[in-house]
């Protein structure tokens, strides 16, 4: 284990390492743009080069690579050599996973630490505790790309019904905490629509899309100006080849200028209205309706152009160029057709 608490002794001063010939990084040249290494780091990597040269794979290599990894978790060669050593000396992998847990929490934004977990999990074949550990890491950073893609890897790679079973409630919890967390929305899409070919949530595609449309519309109603939710709505429709026009009645509620505070509230579960605090019109709704009109062909085009113009000139001026392109493009396509 690492000498976290004790004073670090250089490898050059450890008698049990005296048989290894350390190799400095650069011999005979004055490198350009060098890094000013700390003495500990230089010492450990000099010995690492010495070990790589002789090809030694032994218990002490685990100690050396751990030292390097703790100083620089992105040292992929140390990780690689460590993995090979673990396999060659048939080291037990459970304690390695425990150590990797600590390293993961210390450096969750490092590619190598997550990949090392994958190598270990592939060998250990016990994925269930991994989801709990993953959730723990997400608590510290709910948008860490590596954490999420790793979770998706665990689900897809092992593809077991028990693994998938808890995912929808899990991701719903995260979206309840922050409805704008796009990583969570992507995970929801992954779970609902890309859930492997044997495991999955065990439901039909129709059932999934009905549930997901209701879910996302509820979240749009809560906070309409949320690009993640609108992308999800579009994604669900595209994935299941449903035309956008099927949602026009819902989306129309979000292109008006203001929330109608006096309107009688008719509970329409299919088309939940915007919350009282909603800032309308919602530009994603305008864009959505423009797409609905464009899909109608020649008849719809002038309505679509009107909406795109309002985006270009009023509601989404930073993307003026894009909306103008959409107008030119749609007009060119309809006149040819």
């Amino acid at each position: 284990m690492a000498d976290d608490t004790t004073e670090h002794v250089l490898y050059a001063e450890r008698p049990e390492w005296s048989d290894v010939v350390p190799i400095p990084q650069y011999e005979n040249i004055q490198p350009l743009a060098p890094i000013f290494y700390t003495p500990e780091y230089k010492d450990a990597t000099d010995y690492f080069r010495g070990i790589v040269k002789t090809g030694e794979k032994s218990l002490r290599v685990l100690q050396l690579t751990e030292t390097i990894i703790r100083l620089n978790p992105a040292h992929y060669s140390a990780w690689q050599y460590r993995y090979e050593t673990l396999i060659v000396i048939s080291a037990p992998l459970e304690p390695e996973l425990v150590l990797t847990n600590a390293l993961t929490k210390a450096s969750p934004k490092t590619y190598q630490v997550w990949h090392h977990r994958q190598l270990l999990l592939t060998a250990l074949r016990d994925p269930m505790p991994e989801l709990a550990f993953n959730e723990e890491v997400l608590k510290a950073d709910a948008k860490n790309y590596h954490t999420w893609s790793h979770r998706q890897w665990v689900l897809a790679h092992f593809d077991q019904a028990e693994l998938w079973a808890g995912e929808l409630p899990f991701v719903e919890r995260l979206l309840n905490e922050d409805v704008r967390n796009n990583s969570a929305w992507h995970h929801r899409f992954f779970v609902s629509f890309e859930n492997g070919s044997k495991g999955g949530t065990g439901e039909g595609a129709d059932e999934a899309v009905r549930r997901e449309l209701a879910f996302v519309k509820g979240k749009i109603a809560l906070a309409p100006n949320n690009a993640s939710a609108w992308n999800y709505l579009r994604g669900a429709l595209n994935h299941t080849h449903l035309p956008y026009s099927t949602q026009a009645a819902f989306v129309e509620l979000y292109v008006v200028d203001a929330v109608d505070a006096d309107a009688d509230r008719v509970l329409d579960l299919e088309n939940p209205p915007p919350s009282q605090g909603a800032q309308l019109p919602c530009l994603a709704a305008i864009e959505f309706m423009a797409d609905v009109h464009e899909a109608r062909g020649k008849e719809g085009i002038s309505e679509a152009v009107k909406l795109w113009r309002s985006l270009a000139h009023t509601h989404d001026t930073i993307r003026k160029r894009y909306w103008e392109f959409r107008i030119r493009d749609a007009v060119a396509n309809t006149s040819v057709a």
């Binding site: 190799i23 990084q25 650069y26 040249i29 490198p31 350009l32 743009a33 060098p34 890094i35 290494y37 790589v52 100083l71 620089n72 992105a74 992929y76 060669s77 690689q80 090979e84 590619y111 990949h115 709910a142 999420w148 893609s149 998706q152 897809a156 790679h157 922050d178 967390n181 929305w185 992507h186 890309e194 859930n195 492997g196 070919s197 809560l222 906070a223 309409p224 100006n225 949320n226 690009a227 993640s228 994604g235 669900a236 595209n238 919350s275 605090g277 909603a278 800032q279 000139h313 001026t317 930073i318 993307r319 160029r321 894009y322 392109f325 107008i327 030119r328 007009v331 060119a332 006149s335």
Partner: protein, 488 residues
């Protein structure tokens, strides 16, 4: 005053962070008539770059010890973009340093004695495109040639490039992807880096990239951008059609996937089951990464995340690549159709003189106002410190916003006509790579003309001159001279 991002009276962690960032960014807008705000502080940035190159990087860069070729590339490419030539002695030291990173079994490692890895291999080869040359000690022929001293026991001495090719093949996976190193992970950054090097060094073959386009296509997510990788479900040796994307759409991965897709075009055979990318959905995602006026029009890397200077290149630089796929902002508008569409409405503030998919003016302002650190170097955004990575990609992004570089059919013809040897996919790939041309009169520079940085090749992030030089060498071709540009 610009409008804040609407929060619908429903604050969450994301909207709180967003609001804080908007406030900080607004503090960096120079006061009206204050002057100075629109200046690219080239000298300050150069001082930092020179210090890093000549003296070295401080100890906090130990975290990048396995990315030394990247530190080199970011620094050298920043010089190139800032129009600074490097003296012969420094070039030679750079070459000698880079060659220390070459692995005896092919490829380059992140430092001397480190394992070969796809990412540093790109950074090393692109660095050699900038500082290398043919001839002894020039780097280029050292990638190419067998070193007899090391391989005297080999019966058939292999050239280094053959080793590189064999190493590449050893990384290939059944789903068409590549792992980044022995026992390493798969992601589209590695594939982009592999494809660029294979193309530049003339070792690209249909065999090498068989199945790779389908892998890239499978990384497109429902949002339109690309994720880091996809998961292959393989049953009884057969790859299932559905390959779920691992991770959400992300600016860095999207650039790498899109550039890979463009590089692979000569190797994709048409047909019913040819892999497809939804370019319209990709365009929509890309434009939506541009932050609002209140965010100074910088780019973000994911939906509902914050703007960050490096995405000026990863996202801002991606638009040019769409042109290679036939998606251009220059759609001919029929004269008879809707009135007024072709006329450019007069408007103050943003410049309307260009046709592009994104707001080039705003992106330049973001980099000038928020990207520059007062002490030199560029950054993610205030109050962060500058670093080598953000310096390079803010400058590259500034270049992408200033210039229009497009695949020129005329240039493609000229390059193809000058091709010597067998006409085939190799000749086509060479011409596709070198047809990219800076549009005359297509530049739009915020601030004074002194803010100009060099145009950069949209696929490689090298200057076009450097890309031509190294490719001409490895393909043993003469690239026809370009017509002289009007002086600026």
């Amino acid at each position: 005053m610009s409008r804040p991002t609407p929060i619908d009276a429903y604050p969450t962690a994301t909207s709180n962070l967003q609001a804080d960032t908007e406030n900080i960014l607004q503090d960096h807008v120079p006061l009206e008539g204050g002057g100075g705000g629109c200046v690219l502080h080239k000298n300050r940035h150069l001082e930092l770059l020179v210090r890093n190159l000549a003296q070295g990087f401080p100890a906090r860069y130990v975290s990048q010890d396995a990315s030394q070729p990247w530190l080199m590339f970011w620094t050298l490419q920043s010089f190139s973009a800032l129009q600074i030539a490097i003296d012969p002695d420094t070039k030679q030291r750079a070459i000698d340093t880079i060659m220390q990173w070459q692995h005896p079994d092919g490829g380059f490692g992140g430092g001397s004695g480190q394992a070969a890895h796809l990412l540093p291999t790109y950074a090393a080869v692109c660095s050699l495109a900038i500082v290398g040359r043919h001839g002894p000690g020039g780097g280029w022929d050292q990638i190419d040639r067998c070193v007899m001293r090391l391989y005297r026991f080999d019966l058939y001495p292999m050239r280094r490039r053959d080793k590189l090719y064999k190493w590449y093949l050893s990384l290939k996976q059944p789903d068409g992807s590549f792992i980044v190193s022995n026992h390493g992970e798969v992601d589209v950054r590695g594939i982009y880096c592999l494809l660029v090097v294979a193309l530049i060094l003339d070792i690209m073959t249909p065999e090498l990239v068989n199945g790779t386009p389908a892998f890239i296509a499978s990384c497109q997510t429902y949002e339109g951008g690309f994720s880091s990788a996809s998961h292959p479900h393989i049953f009884d040796g057969i790859l299932a059609a559905q390959r779920p994307s691992l991770g959400e759409a992300h600016g860095g991965y999207t650039f790498c996937a899109l550039a890979s897709w463009v590089l692979l075009q000569p190797y994709i055979s048409a047909g019913e089951d040819a892999p497809r990318v939804d370019v319209r959905r990709l365009l929509r995602w890309l434009v939506n990464m541009q932050g609002l006026e209140i965010e100074l029009g910088g780019f973000k890397g994911r939906t509902n995340k914050l703007v960050d200077g490096c995405y000026s290149w990863w996202v801002g630089g991606a638009f040019a690549l769409l042109e290679a796929l036939g998606v251009s902002p220059h759609v001919p508008a029929p004269a008879s159709a809707h009135e007024g569409e072709t006329a450019k409405p007069a408007e103050s503030g943003w410049n309307d003189a260009d046709d592009s998919f994104f707001n080039r003016h705003a992106l330049q302002e973001f980099i000038l106002f928020a990207g520059q650190h007062p002490a030199g170097g560029l950054r993610d955004k205030p109050p962060k410190n500058p670093d080598a990575y953000h310096t390079a990609y803010c400058i590259s992004g500034l270049s992408a916003a200033q210039h229009r570089v497009y695949p020129s059919p005329a240039r493609r013809e000229v390059v193809r006509a000058a091709w010597e040897g067998e006409d085939g996919v190799r000749a086509a790939a060479f011409a596709e790579a070198l047809c990219w041309t800076e549009e005359d009169g297509g530049s739009y520079i915020v601030g004074s003309a002194a803010n100009r940085v060099n145009a950069t090749h949209p696929l490689f992030n090298l200057t076009i001159t450097h890309a031509e030089g190294i490719m001409a060498h490895f393909y043993k071709q003469t690239v026809p001279k370009r017509p002289p540009k009007p002086s600026h």
